[in-house]
C-alpha cells in the first residue's frame, strides 16, 4: 500500500476509482482518463494504463461507451502518432461487445485514430485488426469490421487490397442479417476509397447481391447505397447500373423499401443526372405519389417541390401536377399535411400563370381542409406564394381559414396560428389586418388557456414591432389597455404581461404617458397576485423611462407596495426598489 503525497491525492483517488463499485465514480474516472494518463506519463500510459483498460472490458455499458469515446482522442497521451497503434487493442475488444452504441463509438474512435496513423502502422496493425474483426466468431465483431474498411483500404498494398475487397464481399453475404445490414450501410464509404476499375466490378457485384437480399431491412439500406455509389460512378455507368436498381426498388414489394426510395429520391436524382431523371425517374416518382401505402405517399408528397425544381416547368405541369391534385384530396390527412407543407414552394417553380390556373385551386381546397395541420402548413408558407401571385387572390379564402383556426378547440392549433400572425400581418398589409385580424388578437388575450394568453401578449408585441409604435398606439394599445379593468384577475395579469413586453418597443414617452398610469393604478388591485406582478412590471419599466418618472411615479408606488400585508408583494416590491437603486447608481 503506497502512501501518496498530498498534492497527488486527488489523482490517486481518481485512479483508484477506475475500479470503484459505484458506477458513477467509475464513469467520472473514465471521463478524466486524460488526466490520469498525464499523471502517469506517456510511457506508463502505454505500458500500464492501456493494457489495464484492455483487460477490464466487462464493465457496464455506460463505462464502456465513455472508454470508447475517450480513447478516440487519446493519441497525444500515449506519445503521439508514432505510438497510436497501442490504442487499437482496447478498442478492438470494445468493437465486439453486444451493445450497439458502444460498438458504434468504438468504430468511430478507431476511424479517428486510423486517420492519423502512419501508413506503415496501418498496414502492420490496423489492417490485421480489421481482418480479425471481419472473421470474428460472433456477429458483433463482424458488424463492427464493416465500418473500418474505408480507413484500412487506401494504405494497403495491392495484394492486401484485393483481399480486403474479397472480405467485404463475404461480409455482404454473411449468414447474419445484422452483418449484411452493416455492410450495406458502410458500402458507400468503402466504395469511395476503392479504385474506379474495381468499383465497376467488385463493388458493383457486391451491391447487386445486397439489392436482391431476402431481408427487407438489408434491401432498404441498399437504397441509400444507390445514391452514394451513383455519385462515384461515371454518368454512363451510373445510368447503366444504378438506374435500373432504383427503378426496381421503386416497385419493390415492400412498402418500406419504396418509402426509402421516396425519401431518398432527390439524392438519387442527383446521382443519375437530369436527363435520366426526366425519362426514367419521373414515371417512378409518379408511381410513388400514387402508391397504395400512405407512408410512401407521405414521403413522396414531401419531395414534390424539390423534385419539381429539377424538372422543367412543362414536365412538372404535365406529370407532377395531376398527382398533386390527387394528393390534395388524399384520404390520409398526413399525406395532405405533408403536401401542404411543401406545395407553396411549387409556385416559384411553375411561374405565375400556372400557379393561378393550377395551384391556386389546390391551395384553396387545402385551406378548407378539415384537418387543422393541413391549413396551418399552408398558412405558414404564405410568403412563398405571395412573391409569385400576390396575396389578393388568396385573401378571400384565407380569412375564414384563419378565423376558424383561431377558434379551434385544440389550444395547440390556436397557439400555432398565433405564431403565424406577425408573418400574415406583414404579408397581408396593415389594411387587411386592421379590418379582419385585429379583433382576433384581442380575443386571444382572453383565452382560457394560459399558453395562448402568453402567446397573444407576445403577438401584440411583435405586431407593434412590425407596424411601428404609432400604428400600435392607434390600433391595438387602446383595446389592450381597456382590458386592464376586466373583472377576471387572470386577464388583468395578461395585460400587465403585455405592457411589460410592449414598453421596450413603444419607447419612453408612450410608456410613461400611456402605460405607466395604468400599471400604477393596478397597484391598488385587491388581488395580491396582480400587485406583485405590478412590482415586477415596474421593475422592467424602470430602465426604459426617464429617471424623473422613476422618482416621481414608480418609486412611491413601489414603496407603498413594499408595505403591503402580503409577503410576496413586499418581496417583489423591495426587489424592484433595489434594482431601481442599482440603475441609478450605474447611471
Amino acid at each position: 500500500m503506497a502512501m501518496v503525497d498530498q498534492p497527488l491525492y486527488p489523482i490517486a483517488v481518481l485512479i483508484d476509482e477506475l475500479k470503484n463499485e459505484d458506477i458513477q465514480l467509475r464513469l467520472n474516472s473514465i471521463r478524466r482518463l486524460s488526466t490520469i494518463a498525464r499523471a502517469l506519463g506517456e510511457e506508463r500510459t502505454r505500458k500500464e494504463l492501456i493494457p489495464f483498460l484492455s483487460e477490464n472490458n466487462d464493465d457496464d455499458d455506460e463505462v464502456l461507451l465513455a472508454t470508447a469515446e475517450e480513447l478516440g482522442v487519446f493519441v497525444p497521451y500515449v506519445g503521439g502518432v508514432e505510438h497510436a497503434s497501442v490504442l487499437l487493442p482496447p478498442l478492438e475488444t470494445l468493437c465486439t461487445v453486444e451493445e450497439t452504441c458502444v460498438r458504434d463509438k468504438s468504430v468511430e474512435s478507431l476511424c479517428r485514430i486510423g486517420a492519423q496513423m502512419r501508413e506503415q502502422d496501418l498496414v502492420d496493425h490496423f489492417i490485421p485488426l480489421v481482418k480479425r474483426l471481419a472473421s470474428g466468431e460472433w456477429f458483433t465483431a463482424r458488424v463492427s469490421s464493416c465500418g473500418l474498411f474505408h480507413i484500412a483500404y487506401p494504405s494497403a498494398p495491392e495484394a492486401l487490397k484485393t483481399e480486403l475487397r474479397t472480405i467485404y464481399g463475404q461480409l455482404c453475404q454473411d449468414d447474419m442479417p445484422m452483418v449484411r445490414r452493416s455492410a450495406a450501410t458502410n458500402l458507400g464509404k468503402f466504395a469511395a476509397t476503392v479504385e474506379a476499375a474495381h468499383l465497376k466490378t467488385d463493388i458493383m457485384s457486391v451491391f447487386d447481391d445486397l439489392t436482391q437480399d431476402d431481408q427487407d431491412s438489408v434491401r432498404l439500406l441498399a437504397v441509400e447505397g444507390c445514391a452514394a455509389l451513383g455519385k462515384l460512378l461515371e454518368p454512363q455507368d451510373c445510368v447503366a447500373h444504378i438506374l435500373p436498381v432504383i427503378v426496381n426498388f421503386s416497385q419493390d414489394k415492400s412498402w418500406r423499401v419504396r418509402y426509402m426510395v421516396a425519401n431518398q429520391l432527390y439524392e438519387l436524382c442527383e446521382a443519375v443526372g437530369p436527363d435520366s431523371t426526366k425519362t426514367e425517374l419521373v414515371p417512378a416518382y409518379v408511381r410513388l405519389l400514387r402508391d397504395n401505402e400512405a407512408e410512401v405517399r407521405i414521403a413522396a408528397a414531401g419531395k414534390v417541390t424539390k423534385f419539381s425544381r429539377i424538372l422543367s416547368p412543362e414536365l412538372a405541369i404535365q406529370h407532377i401536377l395531376p398527382c398533386v391534385k390527387e394528393l390534395s384530396t388524399d384520404s390520409s390527412q398526413h399525406v395532405r399535411s405533408a403536401l401542404a407543407s411543401v406545395i407553396m414552394g411549387m409556385a416559384p417553380v411553375l411561374g405565375k400563370d400556372a400557379t393561378i390556373e393550377q395551384l391556386l385551386p389546390i391551395f384553396l381546397s387545402l385551406l378548407k381542409d378539415e384537418f387543422p395541420d393541413v391549413r396551418l402548413n399552408i398558412i405558414s408558407k404564405l410568403d412563398q406564394v405571395n412573391q409569385v401571385i400576390g396575396i389578393d387572390l388568396l385573401s378571400q379564402s384565407l380569412l375564414p381559414a384563419i378565423v376558424e383556426l383561431a377558434e379551434d378547440r385544440h389550444w395547440r392549433v390556436r397557439l400555432a396560428i398565433i405564431e403565424y400572425i406577425p408573418l400574415l400581418a406583414s404579408q397581408l398589409g396593415v389594411g387587411f389586418f386592421d379590418d379582419k385580424l385585429g379583433a382576433l388578437c384581442m380575443q386571444w388575450l382572453k383565452d382560457k388557456v394560459y399558453s395562448i394568453r402568453d402567446a397573444a401578449a407576445n403577438n401584440v408585441k411583435r405586431l407593434a414591432e412590425e407596424f411601428g409604435p404609432e400604428w400600435a398606439m392607434q390600433h391595438i394599445i387602446p383595446q389592450v389597455l381597456d382590458m386592464i379593468n376586466d373583472p377576471h384577475y387572470l386577464y388583468r395579469m395578461t395585460i400587465l404581461h403585455a405592457i411589460s413586453l410592449l414598453a421596450p418597443v413603444l419607447g419612453s414617452e408612450i410608456t410613461s404617458t400611456n402605460l405607466l398610469p395604468l400599471v400604477v393604478n393596478a397597484a391598488k388591485d385587491r388581488v395580491p397576485n396582480i400587485k406583485f406582478n405590478v412590482a415586477k412590471v415596474l421593475q422592467s419599466i424602470i430602465p426604459i423611462v426617464e429617471e424623473s418618472v422613476v422618482e416621481s411615479t414608480i418609486k412611491p408606488c413601489l414603496v407603498e407596495l413594499s408595505e403591503d400585508p402580503d409577503v410576496d408583494v413586499r418581496f417583489f416590491a423591495s426587489q424592484a426598489l433595489q434594482s431601481s437603486d442599482q440603475v441609478k447608481m450605474s447611471s
Binding site: 501518496v4 506519463g41 489495464f52 477490464n56 442479417p177 427487407d216
Partner: protein
C-alpha cells in the same frame, strides 16, 4: 409465400412410432406436497440450438437450463449455431441459473393489478458467449442478458483506506471504496483535480499505480435486464415472437399486434389492430401470433373464432387486411352452444421451414399448409372423450384453458397437452397413424392406450394419487374415466433438433426422449 421445402416425410416408409422414455425431472413434487401457486410453470422454450431451455413461472421467475451431454459447451460459434448433432445420446440438461424477471405491479391509472406471471419466453441471438432472451407478463416485455462473469478482486490501491495492512490481495474493492465516499461524498466536488495547465513531470509520477485486478477461476452467472418494452398494450400480451432479421420482434395482445426494434424500447409500431370502433361489436380476439421462421415479412396470428391469418408486412404499414386466411368450414348441423368456444385457437406454431403451421384449439390439433387455404392438411383429435362433458368443462371454466402445441424439429410429429398431466404425440407424415398418450411422470407410458380414439382409462393407483393431492375438481364419471381438470398440461416444447420433449406439470418440469 412459398414455404420452402419442409421435409415432412423423411423416407417413403411410414415412420415407426417413437418409444418415449423418461429422461429427467426438475422440481418433482414429493407425495402430499402442496404446490405453491407461484411455482407453477407458465412458459417453456428451447433456444435455436437446443443447448438451452428456459422456463417461466407464475411467480415471475425465469429458470435457465443448459445441456450437459454435448461435447463442448463453450465451443465455437459454428458449433453452437449448427444444430446437427451426431451424438446418439439424448439431451440432458442441468440447472444453470434463475432470475426474477417480473414483479407484481399496480397500474394506478387503470386501478389494475398486473400479475408477475411469465406468459412467454423467447430466445434471441447469442453473442459473445452470453445468452439473450425476451420474457413477458401481461403488460411488459423485458430483454435479458445472462452472462458468465469471472469473479474479480481488486487490490493494490494508491490509497489504503483502512490502514489495516494485511494481505494486500485480499482487500476487496468494496472495502476500499467506502471511505472515499464517506470522506468527500461525490469526488467531483471534494477534490481539485489538477487543471489542464497543471504541469506533470514529463516522465509521469512514479508513485501512482493502477489498481491491479486479480481474476479468479470462479465464475458467476449474471442476469441483467437490458431493456424494458412497456406501456404499449392495453390488453394482455399473449405472444411475443422474434423476426428472422434479428432486429425486430412482435408482441400481441387480445386486439393488437405491435412491432418493436430490439434496441428501441420507447416506441413500437402497431401493425395489426382488430379493435372495432364500438367495443360492443367485438366478436373476435387475437389469441396467438408468430413470425415466419425465415421470411422476415410474413407473420401469422390466430383468433378466438378458429381462424389463422397470414399477413404480409410488405403490403402496408397497418396490416388490416390479411394475405391469406385459414379456417375450417364447420360441418352443417353440428353447431352447438360450445362450437365457437371450442373453435378458439389457443396456440399456433410454424414448422421449422415455415411451410406448415400447427394450431391447437380446445379439442384438436390442426396442421395447415400455408399454400393451401381450403382446410387443414391433417386434424388430430386430442381428447375427443371430453366432448360429452363440454357442459361441465364450461361450468368450471376449463373449456377456456389454453393448451400449447409444438412440432418436432423435422416437422414429422406434433405434440400437445391435455388433462390429468397427459400429453399426446401424433405423427403427421402422410400415412402415419402414430398417436401416443403419455403422462408427465417418471413412467410416461403406463397410461398409454392402444387405440387413440378410445377414451383413456385411468388406472387405479393414479386415481388415488390424484385424490390424495386434494384436488377438488377431479371428475370421475360412471365409466371410470378420470379427467382431473386441475392437473392440466398446458405448456410443452419440442427440442429443435432431437426427439426430446420438455413439458410442465404444475411446478415440475419433465423431460422425455425417444
Amino acid at each position: 409465400m412459398n414455404g420452402g421445402d419442409d421435409v415432412v416425410v423423411a423416407s417413403e416408409e411410414p415412420l415407426q412410432p417413437l418409444e418415449w422414455k423418461f429422461s429427467q425431472v426438475f422440481g418433482e413434487r414429493a407425495a402430499g406436497e402442496e404446490v405453491q401457486e407461484v411455482d407453477i410453470i407458465s412458459a417453456i422454450e428451447f433456444d435455436k440450438s437446443g443447448n438451452h431451455l428456459a422456463t417461466g413461472d407464475r411467480g415471475g421467475r425465469v429458470v435457465l437450463f443448459e445441456r450437459t451431454d454435448s461435447k463442448d459447451q463453450h465451443g465455437s460459434r459454428r458449433d453452437l449455431e449448427s444444430t446437427d448433432y451426431s451424438s446418439s445420446r439424448h439431451p440432458e440438461f442441468r440447472y444453470k441459473t434463475e432470475f426474477q424477471s417480473h414483479e407484481p405491479e399496480f397500474d394506478y391509472l387503470k386501478s389494475l393489478e398486473i400479475e408477475e406471471k411469465i406468459n412467454k419466453i423467447k430466445w434471441c441471438q447469442t453473442a459473445n458467449g452470453s445468452v439473450f432472451l425476451l420474457s413477458t407478463n401481461d403488460k411488459t416485455i423485458k430483454f435479458w442478458k445472462v452472462q458468465e462473469k469471472k469473479v474479480k478482486k481488486i487490490s493494490d490501491m494508491n490509497i489504503d483506506p483502512s490502514k489495516a495492512i494485511g494481505n494486500g490481495s485480499s482487500s476487496s474493492n468494496s472495502n476500499s471504496s467506502k471511505p472515499h465516499l464517506a470522506n468527500g461524498g461525490s469526488s467531483d466536488k471534494s477534490y481539485n483535480y489538477p487543471s489542464n495547465d497543471f504541469s506533470f513531470p514529463p516522465g509521469g509520477l512514479p508513485s501512482l499505480r493502477l489498481p491491479s485486478v486479480v481474476v479468479s477461476h470462479e465464475t458467476s452467472l449474471l442476469a441483467r435486464c437490458r431493456r424494458v418494452y412497456a406501456h404499449a398494450h392495453d390488453y394482455h400480451i399473449n405472444s411475443i415472437s422474434n423476426n428472422s432479421d434479428g432486429e425486430t420482434f412482435i408482441s400481441a395482445d387480445d386486439l393488437r399486434i405491435n412491432l418493436w426494434n430490439l434496441e428501441i424500447s420507447n416506441q413500437s409500431f402497431n401493425i395489426v389492430d382488430v379493435k372495432p370502433t364500438n367495443m360492443e361489436d367485438l366478436t373476435e380476439v387475437i389469441t396467438s401470433a408468430e413470425f415466419h421462421p425465415t421470411h422476415c415479412n410474413t407473420l401469422a396470428y390466430s383468433s378466438s373464432k378458429g381462424s389463422i391469418r397470414l399477413i404480409d408486412l410488405r403490403q402496408s404499414a397497418l396490416c388490416d387486411s390479411h394475405a391469406k386466411l385459414f379456417e375450417e368450414q364447420e360441418a352443417p348441423g353440428s353447431r352447438s352452444f360450445f362450437t365457437e368456444i371450442i373453435a378458439s385457437i389457443s396456440d399456433i406454431k410454424f414448422a421449422k421451414e415455415g411451410r406448415y403451421i400447427l394450431s391447437r384449439d380446445y379439442m384438436t390439433l390442426k396442421l395447415w399448409d400455408i399454400n393451401m387455404d381450403s382446410g387443414p392438411v391433417s386434424t388430430f383429435r386430442v381428447h375427443e372423450y371430453l366432448r360429452p362433458k363440454l357442459c361441465d368443462l364450461y361450468e368450471n371454466d376449463s373449456i377456456f384453458d389454453k393448451f400449447e402445441c409444438c412440432l418436432s424439429g423435422d416437422g414429422s410429429r406434433v405434440s400437445t397437452g391435455s388433462y390429468s398431466n397427459l400429453f399426446r404425440v401424433f405423427g403427421c407424415a402422410p400415412g402415419s397413424t402414430e398417436a401416443t398418450t403419455l403422462e408427465a411422470s417418471k413412467n410416461p407410458t403406463r397410461r398409454q392406450v392402444p387405440t387413440p380414439s378410445r377414451p383413456s382409462r385411468s388406472l387405479g393407483n393414479s386415481l388415488t394419487r390424484v385424490v390424495r393431492r386434494g384436488a377438488e375438481n377431479t371428475g370421475v364419471d360412471a365409466n371410470g374415466n378420470s379427467f382431473d381438470f386441475t392437473t392440466k398440461l398446458l405448456h410443452l416444447a419440442w427440442h429443435p433438433s432431437e426427439n426430446s420433449i420438455a413439458c410442465a406439470a404444475a411446478n415440475s418440469l419433465y423431460m422425455y426422449y425417444a
